[in-house]
Symmetry: C2
Subunit: 422 residues, 2 copies
């Protein structure tokens, strides 16, 4: 078969400069979450196909790269459907694997279990600019803690991380699925319509309140109902304390304790912040995945559209693997997005070793070379990065290339001088 | 479909303690090779299936996990053969991807290019103890340097790494495919038989010289020929300087400069060593892959069977992608094997942060909790790892669990005291 130079369509090779940045960010993530007591764990990149096609993954289940059966189990000519030839699939997120991992190892893990996962996931999306079919996800989750301490620590740790990456003035938007539902219910929407109503509400920051009103009408909801709903958002926004306002207004519809729980989260995260950011209650925040059961949150940068991190509480998912409910709350950090932002800002990785290049004239004797290498060894032991290479014919170009790669100092070794001298 | 708790057969979940060790070793590898001027790079885990089935991968090509086509391109019911339904495959090594990467990006990379790759590879082996179907490979390669400087630096860097991991007294075995061929040719074996002869020779350390003689006879080679061949190994071993002995003995058969090149490598690596190890010329060293064209090497630990690293020069492989020859030499480090050895030795990761756990009585007020979290923040800023959790009913068990995870200090926060005091 023919060789192709390009990677698989929609996937990318990573060049040295980007890799250095990625390594730095991955290490900072590990260090930061470790300081909060999170344990770094890993699962295989493949899962049994049944685990991936369980309706937990929403739309992503349509984007699975599936793995062909092998050996005697594979009967291509007789096969009629995909299921006949597939046994595994590439993971499309880290949440399904975490649920499986926890149910497999619960007895060996502490309670609560604070997990950090970083690794590639695959989605067979239509290839498009800036969106890849293999990309790194970074998830942090707290399993086994039903209280708001989980939310608080996730937000505290994640805002600390963003601060250590140099980000300031970002916005953490916070809501609760139960608040969303209570607002809709209060205004007369039926539970069966919630999903559709929330999909429309989710567009608020793009199409504005009038746009939402229009779409609700188009979807067939009564004008009176929609008006009442949207007024509630306006009143909330105008209130001194929107959360307290809604807590009172929705009493009887909103489950007891939800508003108080949210208030505790807001208060604790704000008072233990290690960096400057806004934490706001945002009643229009929806988050797409159907598995969220409580808090939901998202972090946005003022200068960018979209979010750099998001997550929420999903108390019912892990129970599907373990058989008994396990409360869970997690954040997914947009690793690739952060890398893109930092690269665009021309972020300089701090604490890099001094980079020095030795250029050696061709034909240097073995003995001369040994002495050069020994000198390089000593410099490396003193913390320098030393690149040793033969002097190319076009030495000027060679030095330019190395300068471009960050080599700031050059030492040249010529046969005659080096072999006779020193 | 049903959920399964276990990972895909033959693949493994990684628990926190092992992950901490893996992170440490991966970082040490990156740091060490960076100090030698190697650039860390990455390629996607999938390759176009044509690149993987190109006879470069030897037996591994039979072990590919193949990826099903998607959407309209997939016509299961009409398909007759695997090729009809497959477009990508999981990489089984890092050498084929590196060759593709280099041919794709050569213009953006310096010459010579020193690459470090670390990442998972997949082989659909029959599952067996201690052998996994997804495992991390770690490869270092120097592309574009046809001289022995590449071999010397690879050995210098890799022995430095092993030294930094605490290994001492290991053995680096070194040979050259051209030396192997010259010895066989000198003794009258035909070139077409070399592969088979070398496969038998490769068993020397398992079955001894008599075993090799027996197998050569069974394979139909003349007694005289086999005797001459094995005598040559004995004479070499008995010589003061086996390499010099062969260099002289094989003159006319061995290409010019090979023995001298080997001698330079031995001399330079020995004289620039940063740790105690043996570097030996081993004329029985074969290395399986057919793509090697010159030097071959392998690192063994006295107390273990098998090798922890191995590699060689493969000057003709990358040219198959680029269209013009690119000299190349590389080492593959047995990452998983090193992890297993260190875990068995109960290796303690150095420089770990002090680990402290805060246990908080349930029902603590929001204000009380905020003060606890703020205290944790301060301790973390001072370099400590602080785990905050609610006090479980069985506090003794909770502490035991945390102690097992390395938490050496506990602080308990009781409502009454904490909320009134301080």
């Amino acid at each position: 078969m023919a060789f192709t130079k390009k990677p698989v369509t929609g996937m990318k090779d990573i060049l040295p400069a980007e890799m250095e940045l990625r390594d730095y960010v991955l290490n900072l993530i590990t260090e930061t979450y470790r300081s909060f007591g999170f344990s770094h764990i890993e699962t295989p990149c493949m899962e049994n196909i049944g685990n991936l096609c369980s309706n937990q993954g929403g739309e992503n289940e349509k984007l699975i790269f599936k793995v062909l059966k092998r050996g005697e189990k594979l009967k291509i000519a007789e096969a009629e459907r995909e299921e006949d030839v597939v046994d595994f699939g590439m993971r499309y997120d880290l949440t399904v694997p975490l649920s499986r991992y926890y149910s497999n190892h619960q007895a060996e893990l502490s309670t609560p279990f604070k997990a950090l996962q970083m690794g590639p996931v695959w989605r067979a999306d239509r290839p498009q600019r800036g969106r890849f079919r293999q990309f790194v996800q970074c998830d942090i989750d707290i399993l086994g803690d039903p209280t708001c301490l989980a939310e608080i620590e996730l937000m505290q740790a994640t805002t600390t991380l963003l601060g250590r990456l140099g980000f300031r003035g970002f916005r953490v938007c916070f809501n609760d699925r139960r608040m969303l539902k209570a607002m809709a219910s209060y205004c007369g929407f039926a539970e069966k319509d919630f999903d559709q109503v929330f999909i429309i509400l989710d567009k608020m920051d793009k199409i504005g309140i009038d746009g939402v009103a229009k779409e609700l009408a188009e979807a067939g909801y009564g004008e009176e109902q929609a008006r009442r709903y949207l007024d509630l958002f306006v009143e909330t926004e105008e209130a001194d304390d929107g959360l307290a306002f809604l807590g009172e207004k929705l009493s009887g519809v909103l489950p007891e304790g939800v508003a108080e729980n949210m208030a505790t989260i807001l208060e604790s995260v704000r008072s233990s912040a290690s960096v400057d950011f806004d934490l706001v209650f945002d009643p229009t925040l929806v988050r797409g995945m159907s598995y969220y059961t409580g808090s939901i949150f998202e972090i946005k940068m003022p200068e960018l559209s979209g979010s750099v991190a998001g997550g929420g509480r999903y108390d019912e998912m892990i129970g599907k693997f373990t058989g008994k409910p396990v409360p869970a709350c997690g954040f997914s950090i947009g690793f690739e997005r952060i890398i893109t932002i930092l690269a665009e800002q021309n972020f300089q990785v701090p604490g890099r070793a001094e980079k020095k290049a030795y250029l050696v004239e061709k034909g240097m004797s073995g003995e001369g070379l040994s002495r050069i290498l020994d000198r390089a060894r000593q410099e490396r032991e003193n913390g320098r990065q030393v690149f040793v290479a033969w002097m190319n014919k076009n030495k000027k170009f060679q030095k330019e290339q190395l300068t471009h790669e960050g080599y700031g100092e050059f030492e040249e070794f010529f046969r005659r001088e080096w072999e006779n001298g020193q």
